[in-house]
Amino acid sequence: MRFFINTAIIILIGLIVGGASAYYTLQRSHGIGAVNAGSWSAWPFVGGSQVDPYTVAKATTDGTIHLGAAEGLAFEANSDQKGEPLRRECKYEISGNTSTTKLWTLAAYDTAGELILNDTQMVSALYSGDIIRYPDSSFILKMGNRPQSGNWLPLNGKGELKLILRLYDTPITSNSGVIDPQMPRIKLLGCAS
């Protein structure tokens, strides 16, 4: 009898700790195999053949098709610069610049990986060519559910969100540039209560 209780306890600990740790490592954005820049993480080797099992598992659960090295690199962020999760009911300021790239697109997704649409069915996304910049090519954009002057990434609804900034035709994938990529900061401005 005691043997069975012991076995049951071992199996219970194993399932809970093993399952939870596997789930947690895949959910975390700053995961194994990632290149990080502030709140942003990218998996430059995800499409290649020399890739670790964690990155492969994450790619499968995400259901995405990855960018080849010559195509570009996608950076994900699901927290602001202080590490707080990004929320759809809050207002943020995204400022700075990206690493050298021909163009980039920024889009906001819900937790299931679907694009966020605002009240007028407008997709919550921006293209680098439509951005107003400072003379030094840096930019500031506001993200929130109320219209903003300047660059505005519309949000709506409630809950957590994920940003993906994709750099297309960027030299950072081809050489050592992935070691220290430059990405904009995400600052929380306030939340609607």
Partner: protein, 187 residues
Amino acid sequence: MKTRFIYLGVCGILLAGIIHITIILLIPLLGERDAAKQIAKTLTTEKFHFIGDGSKVGISNIDPYMKLSICRFDLEKNAIEIKGPQIPTFWSASVFNERGRVIYSLNDRTAIKNQLQMVIVNPIQMADIRQSQPEEIETSILVESQSSKGFVLLRALISDESWQPQVLNFLEEAHCKAYEINTFEEG
């Protein structure tokens, strides 16, 4: 009593490690959200299928500014030739194996004369091409694939609505067809 709990805890943690590793390794084999599996299931070979933003074939985290076209190939029978018209917007293409790993990728700037033109071959066909040196190869990029099955994903940027007709035309005009290698007869 105390040693019993330590013993159980250590055994539990060991089992947890095994379960953790098993889960991580099994996800790619059993995962159903894998976009490469969806593509292999739904699309026919040797033809570019315009799939819009990709959501129809189960691709999530789509980029709203990119439109996609996919051609599946099987090199078992023949090599595959891929050609696209010239277009002044950003486009890129990646060759994937059946497990969804990138074998080769290029963009409009790295392509020869900014034009999509490539031939995908398996190692045997590569040897044949080296022997016969066909003319078309001079302007095409040769991609050698170790796995015979896979797909080519072509994406093009639509920065605003006015690009829509031109980009759709590019993605639909692009062709993906069997490529015959003329091998010299012995003697």
